[in-house]
């Protein structure tokens, strides 16, 4: 169950999408999200989905992996679609007691499902094709103008890097602690919600203690490697924007315009 978390799971590759400048990729993802949210017809949404599919095919990410990233949001999809199907007023097709299904309900829920799936796929595509460290690097640079207003941009980026680095380590550790507590007879699967929440205490306490110990050791190791904050730091990977980056950004803006145009035409 814990292994399903896909945040920061980078899928190494050398596709066109992988090679794009991460700064551009973040902006393009932003444009895609704007596209999906501003579309108010199926055709408009379709344009956004086409843009997403083109990037997805170019990225050479296995379809299965993409499906995996959708798994955690299945409950949200079900919840919103059920709400939409049953509680929207309109032409009734089917009625059972106080529950009724309307044409509008079906339309809206289909629309929402496509939108949510496209949103998740779009952002997963960003994290699948960009190594977390490049991603934080790009965020650091995109935000660097904010240093002028004393925002600790480097420190924030460093925190993100370390958090991403330790996610798999802590997940592994949680699994280990859970097994250890189960071996001692801890029961985590039965009882009321409150009881189950209480049963988490013997997992969380050792996890926190070890996280603090890790933090201390990591700080020491960083100091030993001459870490002294963001000033005067150079980077192994330099970010270079090329023609392909501007082309991709241009393409995303063209698609965005198309969506807006369709909105006007349909509206």
């Amino acid at each position: 169950m814990l292994k399903d978390i896909t945040i920061g799971q980078y899928f190494p590759g050398n596709s066109v999408v992988h090679r794009l400048d991460p700064r551009f990729k973040i902006i393009i993802t932003g444009v895609l999200i704007a596209m999906l949210f501003s579309a108010d017809s199926f055709i408009g949404l379709g344009v956004g989905v086409i843009f997403l599919l083109i990037s997805f095919l170019l990225s050479q990410i296995p379809f299965k992996l993409m499906l995996k990233s959708l798994k955690p949001i299945v409950p949200i999809i079900l919840f919103t679609s059920v709400l939409n199907i049953f509680f929207l007023e309109g032409v009734t097709i089917f009625k059972l007691g106080f529950l009724k299904i309307t044409v509008e309900g079906l339309r809206t829920s289909a629309f929402m499902i496509i939108r949510i799936i496209a949103l998740i796929m779009g952002s997963s595509l960003l994290t699948y094709t960009t190594s977390p460290i490049t991603l934080t690097d790009a965020i650091e640079r995109l935000l660097s103008p904010l240093k002028k207003i004393k925002l600790p941009v480097h420190e924030l980026a460093m925190m993100m890097t370390i958090a991403l680095r330790f996610i798999p380590t802590l997940i592994e550790e949680t699994d280990k602690i859970m097994s250890a507590q189960k071996a001692r007879g801890a029961d985590m699967e039965s009882g009321s919600l409150l009881q189950r929440a209480k049963a988490l205490t013997p997992i969380l306490i050792p996890l926190f203690v070890s996280a603090f110990r890790r933090a201390e050791e990591l700080a020491l190791a960083m100091e030993c490697r001459c870490y002294q904050g963001g000033d005067g730091r150079t980077r192994l990977r330099q970010l270079h924007s090329s023609g392909a980056d501007y082309f991709a950004l241009g393409l995303s803006i063209v698609f965005f315009d198309l969506v807006l145009l369709l909105n006007c035409l349909m509206g």
């Binding site: 991403l164 890790r214 050791e217 190791a221 490697r225």
Partner: protein, 289 residues
């Protein structure tokens, strides 16, 4: 050329208890003097609480002595201005490989120290590749650390230090959390670095077989240096070693037991081949009946 890389002079250290002012002060180091020569492979042996990790942490100014002085290539470690000069010269590798890897990609982690030092990107690329090749992890440069085994992670951590091009590497029980395979990988890497690249090594350990491969062993107990000699001479003191809770290599122990039972042997033996020869000699000398 300066002969001594690290020179500890009469170092004393104790941890202060911040919560109880009149708590008894536990003296961890009681006047330790130790010189590490250039190119040497030194092992520091000791039981838990002997102060071996504490003296290691003095070698790159992680801890500062409460009494006495530590010099790294002539620089006083108490000189705060030059702390990064010191840490660049003496790198340190810790026990848990997971807790010293900062980045999510192997090569970026190796580059971490160089990024901190402001090395230009072209030179950084070269140094990172060299460091990864010297520990045999070059093929894994694009992997993420959690895909690696313990021994591989520890080698990446060593590469992260090597990339700084330090003169000396202090390893604080680098194999304590590894399986036998990982242990031998790491130890092989350490020996290679020492032999082929002339890096001075200080290996803190409690494994006798690791210490036996060093040029010199320093045995610590209860905050003082008990012995400081070549492995052969150190392990010959079987009784003293046992008294302070340390072991000797199995072959040495065998020789010791044979000697105790009255056979003419030599407890200066530390490797298997010598042991076989010695046993053959005994067998030949014993009349058959």
């Amino acid at each position: 050329m300066q002969d001594k890389i690290i020179s500890a002079q009469n170092v004393e250290f104790h941890y202060t208890n911040e919560f109880e002012e009149d708590a008894p002060v536990k003296q961890v180091l009681k006047g330790v003097s130790l010189d590490i020569k250039k190119g040497e492979f030194t092992a520091v042996l000791g039981h838990n609480g002997s102060g071996k990790s504490t003296i290691a942490k003095h070698m790159n100014a992680v801890l500062l002595p409460c009494g006495g002085k530590v010099y790294v290539e002539g620089i006083d470690t108490a000189d705060e201005e030059r702390i990064f000069d010191i840490r660049q010269r003496v790198g340190m590798v810790f026990q848990n490989p997971d807790n010293q890897i900062v980045a999510t990609i192997v090569e970026e982690d190796v580059a971490f120290a160089l990024e901190n030092l402001g090395v230009p990107p072209d030179e950084m690329r070269k140094r990172v590749d060299d460091a990864l090749k010297s520990v045999g992890m070059y093929e894994y440069r694009e992997h993420s650390p959690h895909q690696l085994s313990g021994g591989q992670k520890q080698r990446v951590a060593i590469a992260g230090i090597i990339a700084m091009r330090p003169d000396c590497i202090v390893l604080d029980e680098p194999t304590a959390m590894l399986d036998p395979k990982g242990r031998s990988e790491v130890l092989k890497t350490i020996r290679q670095l020492n032999r082929d690249f002339g890096v001075t090594i200080v290996l803190i350990t409690h494994y006798m077989d690791e210490a036996a491969q060093a040029d010199r062993i320093v045995v610590m107990d209860n905050g003082v240096i008990l012995m400081d000699d070549v492995p052969r001479e150190v392990f010959a003191n079987v009784e003293l070693m046992k008294k302070i809770g340390l072991d000797v290599p199995q072959v040495t122990e065998l020789m010791y037991l044979l000697e105790e039972s009255g056979l003419p042997t030599d407890t200066h033996i530390i490797d298997e081949e010598e042991c076989t020869e010695a046993l053959l000699k005994i067998l030949k000398a014993t009349p058959h009946n």
